[in-house]
Amino acid sequence: MLVRTNVNGEWRESDVWPGSSLLYLLREHLGLPGSKNACEQGECGSCSVWLDGELVCACLVLAAQAHEREVRTVEGLAAGEALHPVQEAFVETGAVQCGFCTPGFIVAVADLLEQEPEPPEAMVREALSGNLCRCTGYEKILEAVRLASGRMRIREDEL
């Protein structure tokens, strides 16, 4: 079946098997493997993307459900060479080890900070509890959230 989706600002059309997930569409049809396939059950958050601005696990959404809708993925976050503040903070704080969970975390953290620029720690932990990381023990990820939150608010003030 034909699916027409706006991905990171560009309309793309793909002929997919009707059972395909949005994750499969992104990874195997559109050449966007940034969103990761780690559990296929919506448990790990590695495939987090925005669908019409709402945070979803791309493995739990059918490709067909994204028809005529807007998808934003981790690949759409950096403006050219300039990293998104959340990406920058993950690199600086050591929040990345193997990096397989990282794209999902980056999207989830960016989503959180868009909604709540200065989240208290309990809210951060709750918001990120659907993203699994096996390497870091999460401490440096929480540090990255604090760093990005601070920087984004400063930049907001400067504008």
Binding site: T73, E75, V91, G94, Q97, C98, L128
Partner: protein, 792 residues
């Protein structure tokens, strides 16, 4: 020390340099094994055994072959060469043909245009199985009338360590029995790679792995190709923790690619990943610890039984480790430790972070707590009193020659500030065990406990293994100054070794620009990314290669006769003579300088019949203190704080070292509280992240970390491996805290809510299950003459 070195070269050793693969990883541009793609690529799929033990009567593939989009259906007869592979012993069938020995054993392969077509075709393969009696309990495996997994019996390996007078009497004895469950490494990136047939009749394999060269050593004979026609390239690797030490999809993907003449990708889903790799050995440990009334350890007697599952994997090294570390990092004058690993029809067990040391740490630290209670001594004081040190004779007779700041890790850990006391009265429900969603009370039943544990492990390979790494370093003039290119096969699996290698090159060569070549088999073996060894061994190789490059550089410099007698060095891209800058490095690089060096650590030796020998090259020590809140009515736990001090030698990248310690602690917390592969008749009943629970942001507390830096002789910059000690001590510390909170014995990890509220009789209350007698003196499969990997 770290700061002094750090000032000399920007981004050299001792500095928290951001990881060199960080930017592509945060942008989603880092290509992992499962992200690979090629024109005309097919998808591989594996059909696996549904039985723990069965004879294969026949396999019919006709319908599968005729399925749409299918390019190949392969069986054991299609294996081009040897039908067996294995890390140490080649005892594991590439594809089973007569017998299957565990649920999930590969039986057939399919290649198709689409992964779903491959899966559906595999469903049409008809395998006629005759189920056989299976042995799924490790103690049952040792009984004379138990079904046998292999023709030579169920003993995989046994080790006996006898030290001093094992019959030595003590004034005070404590006894304990404990069990640990089967833990999954659960790297976030499942097994994946892509095989591409090459024009020379060979194959190129891009794969997520821990050791490219040992994969190749196993692949080449099975593919019936000379090693130089099997070229492996490291794909992005989404974590490992031991799970990628054994071959998974490598041989299968190559077979399908060679058969179809097209690139073939295999990427396991999560459920398949659970059966597609080995796990941490479940264990049962019996221990008696004797001491004087003053608290000096006199004698430790232990029996260790671990379940190796259906094939050998790295079980021999795991049981050797468990046996040698069983008494703990203490002065123990007399000991008898007997370790046995058995075959069962459970999924194979092998390497996981901590590698045998995790299980015995849980046992020996439980014993230290029991001893402290029996002596009415402070548990930390008891550990300090018996702490090993440089010069200590271990139960293997090995004298600790390197750094052993055991007292210091204990003292530094114990001195870390405690978290604030629990407020009495109203509590924020978010901070209750179980959180808002899980705890229906108001904290009336919450008890706080503090526990402590000390543990140790070796770094690098042991027992006489020729453990080395090769590095090639090329120094050339670039448009913006001198550039060093490093070519080393050390697998970066997330731990950060590639960043470490670049830091070492910068420091030794006194330059800033370093390029890392892809890790592949076009350079010599770097050994495995396991056993906390890459920083030391591949770091050693890069350091040696850089030093050789410098020698060549200085030889060129000395063509200027004025420098003949000078003491040459490098600094910030300049050659220095007696501390004065004399020429930019690139002036001497009209021709690049290339040097390749192999680095070996000091020779180790196998254990003799009494378990004596200098078996390990160096030791890593860690201490951890856990503070927990337990709801004794609901059986819910909240770990409030983990505080840890670790002996790291010298932290080449402190941020990355702390990241390893935090991550290792998290995996230890998982084993203590939630992570266990549930086996039902040999089948994994919880092969998904819905049912196999990993710690989340709501489970992990902040880890307070102290680095103890006493340089280790004979390693680059005095560094020690850092990945494992926190994982070794965390489960023991957390359970110690739970016992303290509840005043209840807990002998099994993961601890379950039923254990905490006393609904279930805990294991470890005498009478314990008796230790089974060994049916044979001869360890298998060595005695059965199963070929060792690499032997013709």
């Amino acid at each position: 020390m770290s700061e002094r070195v750090g000032e000399r070269t920007r981004e050299g050793v001792g500095v928290s340099v951001p990881r060199i693969d960080g930017v592509p990883k945060v942008k989603g541009q880092f290509a992992y094994g499962s992200d690979l793609w090629a024109d005309e690529m097919l998808w591989g799929h594996t059909l696996r055994s549904p039985h723990p033990h069965a004879r294969i009567r026949s396999i019919r593939i006709g319908e599968a072959v005729a399925s749409p989009g299918v390019y190949a259906v392969l069986l054991s007869d299609d294996v081009p060469g040897s039908r067996f592979y294995g890390l140490e012993f080649a005892d594991q069938p590439v594809l089973a043909w007569e017998t299957v020995r565990y649920v999930g054993e590969p039986v057939a392969l399919v290649a198709a245009e689409h992964p779903e077509l491959a899966r559906r075709a595999a469903e049409r393969i008809v395998v006629d199985y005759e189920p056989l009696p299976a042995v799924i309990d490790m103690q049952r495996a040792l009984e004379p009338d138990a079904p046998t997994v292999h023709p030579f019996g169920n003993v995989l390996h046994e080790v006996r360590v006898e030290h001093g007078d094992p019959d030595a009497e003590a004034e005070v004895w404590v006894e304990g029995y404990c069990e640990t469950g089967m833990q999954d490494q659960a790297p976030l990136g499942p097994e994946a790679g892509m095989a591409v047939p090459a024009e020379d009749g060979g194959v190129d394999l891009f794969v997520a792995t821990q050791w490219l060269h040992i994969d190749r050593k196993q692949l080449a004979p099975c593919l019936n190709l000379p090693e130089d026609k099997v070229r492996l390239f490291l794909a992005g690797t989404g974590g490992a923790f031991g799970a990628r030490e054994d071959v998974s999809m490598q041989i299968h993907a190559c077979m399908l690619a060679m058969h179809t003449g097209r690139p073939v990708k295999m990427a396991y889903g999560r459920t398949e990943s659970f059966v597609g790799h080995v796990h941490r050995h479940p264990s049962r440990i019996w221990m008696r610890t004797g001491a004087t009334r003053e608290g000096d350890l006199v004698n430790v007697r232990a029996r260790i039984l671990i379940d190796g599952g259906a094939y050998t994997s790295s079980s021999i090294a795991v049981i050797s480790n468990a046996t040698t570390f069983a008494p703990g990092p203490y002065e123990v004058p007399n000991a008898l430790v007997e370790g046995t690993c058995v075959f069962t029809n459970n999924p194979p067990c092998g390497a996981m972070r901590g590698f045998g040391a995790v299980q015995v740490c849980f046992a020996h630290e439980g014993q230290m707590d029991r001893l402290a209670a029996a002596l009415s001594m402070d548990p930390v004081e008891l550990r300090l009193r018996n702490a090993a040190a440089t010069g200590t004779i271990l139960p293997t007779g090995q004298v600790i020659r390197g750094a052993a700041p055991v007292r210091e890790v204990i003292e530094r850990c114990a001195a870390i500030a405690m978290p604030p006391e629990t407020p009495t009265g109203m509590r924020d429900p978010v901070e209750l065990p179980g959180g808002v969603a899980g705890n229906v009370g108001r904290g009336e039943g919450v008890r706080r406990g503090v526990g402590f544990a000390v543990g140790y492990k070796n770094h690098a390979y042991s027992g006489g293994f020729d453990d080395s790494s090769e590095a090639r370093v090329t120094l050339s003039a670039g448009p913006e100054g001198p550039v060093a290119e490093i070519h080393c096969a050390a697998a970066e699996v997330g731990q950060g070794v590639h960043t470490i290698l670049a830091q070492i090159a910068r420091t030794v060569l006194g330059i800033e620009r370093v390029i890392l070549h892809t890790s592949d088999t076009l350079v010599g073996s770097a050994g495995s990314t396991s056993a906390s060894r890459q920083t030391v061994v591949s770091g050693g190789a890069v350091k040696a290669a850089c030093e050789a490059v410098l020698e060549d550089l200085f030889e060129r410099a000395r063509r200027d006769a004025r420098l003949l007698a000078s003491d040459l060095g490098v600094e910030d891209g300049f050659v220095t003579a007696d501390g004065e800058r004399v020429a930019p490095v690139e002036e001497l690089l009209a021709q690049p300088i290339e040097c390749t060096r192999v680095w070996r650590h000091a020779q180790t030796h196998p254990l003799d019949e009494r378990g004596q020998g200098d078996v390990h090259v160096g030791f890593l020590f860690g201490a951890q203190r856990a503070v927990v809140d337990v709801d004794e009515e609901l059986g819910l736990v909240r770990v409030v704080q983990l505080a840890t001090a670790q002996d790291v030698g010298f932290a080449i990248n402190p941020q990355s070292v702390i990241g390893q310690i935090e991550g290792g602690s998290a995996q230890g917390l998982g084993l203590a509280l939630m992570e266990e592969i549930q086996l039902k008749d040999g089948e994994i009943a919880n092969a998904s992240f819905t049912d196999y629970l990993l710690p989340t942001t709501l489970d992990m507390p902040k880890v307070e970390v102290e680095l103890v830096e006493e340089p280790e002789p004979g390693t680059p910059f005095g560094a020690k491996g850092v990945g494992e000690p926190s994982n070794v001590v965390a489960p023991a510390a957390i359970v110690s805290a739970l016992r303290a909170a509840l005043g209840r014995e807990l002998h099994r990890i993961p601890v379950r809510p039923d254990d905490l509220v006393g609904l279930r009789e805990p294991v470890g209350i005498p009478p314990w299950p008796p230790f089974p007698e060994r049916p044979s003196r001869e360890p298998s499969p060595a005695s059965a003459r199963v070929p060792r990997t690499g032997e013709p």
